[in-house]
C-alpha cells in the first residue's frame, strides 16, 4: 500500500464552534492506482487532499505514506516527505514567474540538496517526459496554459514521488488542453505512476480507474470507474471550430 488512512478526522475551530471537515476517513491506495476524488464543495475533499499531501495534519487517526507514519512527524520531517514522496499539481499551476521552465522544474531538487549536474539532468529528463524539451528556456508567461501545466507536472515528477497529487489540474484549461493533460496523466499511469486527482468534473474523473466520492467528511462511495455513474455519461463531442488554446 502506498497510502493507508485509518479513521482520519479533521476538526476546525471557528470561534467556539467545532466543525468536522473529515469524520473518520479510511482509505487504502495501492501502487500504480489512478484515483479520482469527487464531491461537492464542503464535502471534505480539499481537506483530504491537504492531509494526503502532508500540507496539513489530521486531528485524529493515522496516515501511512509509503510505509512511513506521517502523523507523528514534525514540520521539517513533513517538508522532507513532501519533497521526496509527493508531487503536487495545482489548478493555477503555481510556477515562479521569474524562473525559466527548467529552473521551475529544478525547484524541488534544490530543497532535496541535489548537486547542480544531477539537478540539471533530472529536470531535463522530467521536461522531456511531458514533451516540452523545446520550451525549457521559456518563462511561464511565454507559455500557453497547457504548456504551463505540463511544466508543473514535470516539476511534480522530477523527484520521482510515490504519489502524484493533482488538485483540479484542468480547472483553468479549455477542454482541448484538458484532454491533452489527461492524456499525459494516462501515459504516466501506464508507466507506473500512482495518481490521485481531485475534481468536480465527471468528464475529467472518468479518466481515472477508481472513483471516490466524498460527502459530509466521509467516503460516500469508492468504486471502480466502470461501476460509477460517470461511466454512463456520453463521450464528449469533438470541439470543432472553437479556438484550441485560450490566450493567457
Amino acid at each position: 500500500m502506498v497510502i493507508r488512512l485509518r479513521n482520519i478526522t479533521k476538526v476546525y475551530r471557528v470561534g467556539a464552534e467545532r466543525i468536522a471537515a473529515l469524520n473518520g476517513v479510511n482509505l487504502d491506495v495501492d501502487r500504480n492506482e489512478y484515483v479520482a476524488v469527487m464531491g461537492a464543495s464542503g464535502s471534505g475533499k480539499s481537506t483530504l487532499m491537504n492531509i494526503l499531501g502532508c500540507l496539513d495534519r489530521p486531528t485524529g487517526g493515522t496516515y501511512e505514506l509509503d510505509g512511513r507514519l506521517t502523523t507523528s512527524m514534525g514540520a521539517a520531517a513533513l517538508a522532507h516527505v513532501r519533497n521526496e514522496r509527493i508531487g503536487f499539481v495545482f489548478q493555477s499551476f503555481e510556477l515562479l514567474p521569474r524562473l525559466t521552465a527548467l529552473k521551475n522544474v529544478e525547484l524541488p531538487l534544490i530543497y532535496a540538496r541535489a548537486g547542480w549536474f544531477s539537478r540539471r539532468a533530472r529536470a531535463k529528463k522530467a521536461i522531456e517526459t511531458v514533451g516540452l524539451s523545446d520550451r525549457m528556456r521559456h518563462r511561464p508567461n511565454q507559455l500557453s496554459g497547457g504548456q504551463r501545466q505540463r511544466v508543473a507536472i514535470a516539476r511534480a515528477l522530477v523527484a520521482r514521488p510515490a504519489i502524484l497529487l493533482a488538485d483540479e489540474p484542468t480547472g483553468n484549461l479549455d477542454s482541448r488542453t484538458s484532454e491533452e493533460i489527461l492524456a499525459l496523466f494516462n501515459q504516466l499511469h501506464r508507466s507506473g505512476q500512482t495518481i490521485i486527482m481531485v475534481t468536480h468534473e465527471p468528464d475529467v474523473a472518468r479518466h481515472a480507474k477508481r472513483i471516490i466520492r466524498m460527502k459530509d467528511g466521509r467516503v460516500h462511495s469508492d468504486l471502480p470507474v466502470e461501476e460509477d455513474p460517470v461511466s454512463e455519461l456520453p463521450a464528449p463531442a469533438p470541439l470543432a471550430g472553437i479556438p484550441l488554446e485560450v490566450p493567457a
Partner: protein, 418 residues
C-alpha cells in the same frame, strides 16, 4: 547522501539563497535602491566622518613629529603652592652651571641644550633687519632640534668657552641681509656688536601649529656669548626615545630638585613639559571623538534597518504564494527563513558597498579642499570592516522578524493567498 554532500549541502543552500536574493534585488531595482538609501547614507557618513577624523589626527601627529616627540622643555617656574607668593626671579632662574652634571645623572636623556633667546636688530652693509630672534645655543642644539649646519661649521666648544663673537644664520637671514651664497667669514652686526658668520643652519621644518607659524630670519650665537644672568635661559633636552620621556622627566626633576636643594616638603620651582605627553593626550581625545562621532552616525544605520524591515515585510506578503509553493515542494521552514534573512543581508551589504563608495567619494572631496588640511584623510580598514559588519548585523536584526513570519506561514493558507 554521502558525507561530502552532507557537508556541501548547507553551503549550496546558502549560495543559492544569495543568488535568489540578488535576483530579487535586480528584479526590484528601484525599490531596492530606495530601501537601501538609509544604509547607503549611514555607511557613507560613518566612513567619511571617520576618514576626516583620521586625516585630522594624522596631520596633527605629523606636526608633532616634525617638532620632535622626544623633546623635553625645562623652564624656571614659580611653584604652584596655591598661595600668592611673590618669587624673586633671582631665586627661580637657572644658573649657568646648574645642568653641568645632568647627563651623568639622567640616563634617559640623550642630550640637551641651554637656550638663551632675545631679539635684536642685525645689519650687513646697507641691509638692516630689526626684531630678529637671536638664540644663544649650546653646540648640542643641532642634535636636539635635528637641524644641521649645511654650510660652514657648527660652533666649537672653544667658541662657547670663550664666548666668541661668531654666529650661525639661516637661509632667510642670509637672503634678507643680501649675503653671498657662501657667507662664511663675513662680519655682520648684531645690535652694536660685530659677529663673524661661521655657517648656515638648515631651515625649520614646515609646521603651522608650532614655531608661531613664522618663517623668519634666525641668528644663532654661542650660549656663553648670549648669556646674561638677567635674561636667564631654558633647557631643551632630548630623551633617548619618545617611549622613555616619562623616565627622562622624572630623572630631570630629581636632578634639579637636588641641585636646587629643595626639601621633600617643598614644591618644584621649575616646570618640565614633555611633548610626548601632549601627543598621548591628543591621541586619546582624537579616538574618543572618533568613537562618539562614529556612534552617533551609526544610529542612522539603525534607522536604515527599519526601512529594510519594512520592505522585507512587503516582500514576504507579496510572495506569499511563492512561499506556499516552495513549502509544498519540500522547503523546510529553516530554508525559507534562510532565504529571507540572506535577502535582507544582501540588501544591507549592497547598501553598505554603495555607501562605502560614497564615503570614498566624500573623502576624496575632503582631501581636495586645501583649507581643510585633510590631505591624509583615508578610510581605515577597521572602519570598512566595521561598517560591513554593522550592515550585515542590521540585515540580520531587521530581517529576522519578516523571515520568521515567512517561515511560519501555513502552506495551505499561503497557496490560497491572492
Amino acid at each position: 547522501m554521502n558525507p561530502l554532500q552532507l557537508l556541501i549541502a548547507p553551503v549550496v543552500l546558502i549560495y543559492q539563497s544569495v543568488f535568489l536574493a540578488l535576483g530579487q534585488v535586480w528584479a526590484n531595482k528601484v525599490r531596492s535602491i530606495l530601501t537601501t538609501i538609509g544604509i547607503i547614507i549611514g555607511v557613507a557618513s560613518v566612513t567619511a566622518v571617520i576618514a576626516a577624523l583620521t586625516g585630522m589626527k594624522q596631520s596633527v601627529l605629523t606636526q608633532f613629529e616634525s617638532f620632535g616627540t622626544n623633546k623635553i622643555f625645562v623652564l624656571p617656574y614659580p611653584p604652584d603652592t596655591g598661595k600668592r607668593v611673590v618669587w624673586r626671579w633671582a631665586d627661580l632662574r637657572f644658573h649657568q652651571h646648574d645642568f653641568d652634571e645632568l647627563l651623568e645623572h639622567c640616563p634617559s636623556v640623550a642630550t640637551f641644550t641651554r637656550n638663551c633667546d632675545y631679539t635684536s636688530s642685525i645689519s650687513y652693509g646697507t641691509h638692516t633687519e630689526s626684531n630678529v630672534d637671536i638664540a644663544g645655543i649650546d653646540p648640542q642644539w643641532h642634535q636636539v632640534e635635528n637641524r644641521s649646519v649645511i654650510l660652514g661649521r657648527p660652533f666649537s666648544l672653544i667658541d662657547n668657552e670663550h664666548a666668541r663673537a661668531v654666529c650661525l644664520i639661516n637661509k632667510i637671514a642670509q637672503d634678507r641681509l643680501g649675503l653671498d651664497t657662501d657667507p662664511t667669514g663675513e662680519a655682520i652686526m648684531i645690535g652694536d656688536r660685530r659677529f663673524i658668520v661661521v655657517g648656515v643652519v638648515e631651515s625649520r621644518a614646515e609646521s603651522s601649529m608650532f614655531g608661531n607659524g613664522r618663517s623668519d630670519a634666525e641668528v644663532f650665537i654661542p650660549f656663553n656669548t648670549a648669556y646674561t644672568p638677567d635674561n636667564g635661559f631654558v633647557v631643551v633636552a632630548a630623551s633617548k626615545s619618545p617611549d622613555v620621556s616619562d623616565e627622562a622627566q622624572a630623572e630631570i626633576t630629581f636632578y634639579l630638585r637636588h641641585r636646587h636643594h629643595l626639601r621633600v616638603d617643598q614644591p618644584d620651582n621649575f616646570r618640565i613639559q614633555v611633548v610626548q605627553k601632549f601627543v598621548d593626550e591628543f591621541k586619546s581625545v582624537a579616538s574618543a571623538i572618533t568613537m562618539v562621532a562614529g556612534g552617533i552616525v551609526g544610529i542612522s544605520l539603525l534607522v536604515g534597518g527599519v526601512g529594510i524591515m519594512n520592505i522585507m515585510l512587503v516582500s514576504v506578503s507579496e510572495r506569499t504564494r511563492e512561499i506556499g509553493l516552495r513549502k509544498a515542494v519540500g522547503a523546510r521552514p529553516s530554508a525559507i527563513l534562510l532565504q529571507f534573512l540572506i535577502e535582507a543581508m544582501v540588501l544591507c551589504l549592497l547598501g553598505g558597498m554603495a555607501g562605502l563608495l560614497g564615503g570614498e567619494g566624500i573623502t576624496a572631496i575632503l582631501k581636495s579642499i586645501p583649507q581643510a588640511k585633510l590631505e591624509q584623510a583615508s578610510i581605515p580598514g577597521w572602519a570598512i570592516a566595521l561598517s560591513f559588519g554593522f550592515a550585515a548585523a542590521v540585515g540580520l536584526l531587521f530581517g529576522m522578524f519578516p523571515a520568521i513570519k515567512a517561515a511560519r506561514l501555513d502552506p495551505i493558507e499561503a497557496l490560497r493567498h491572492e
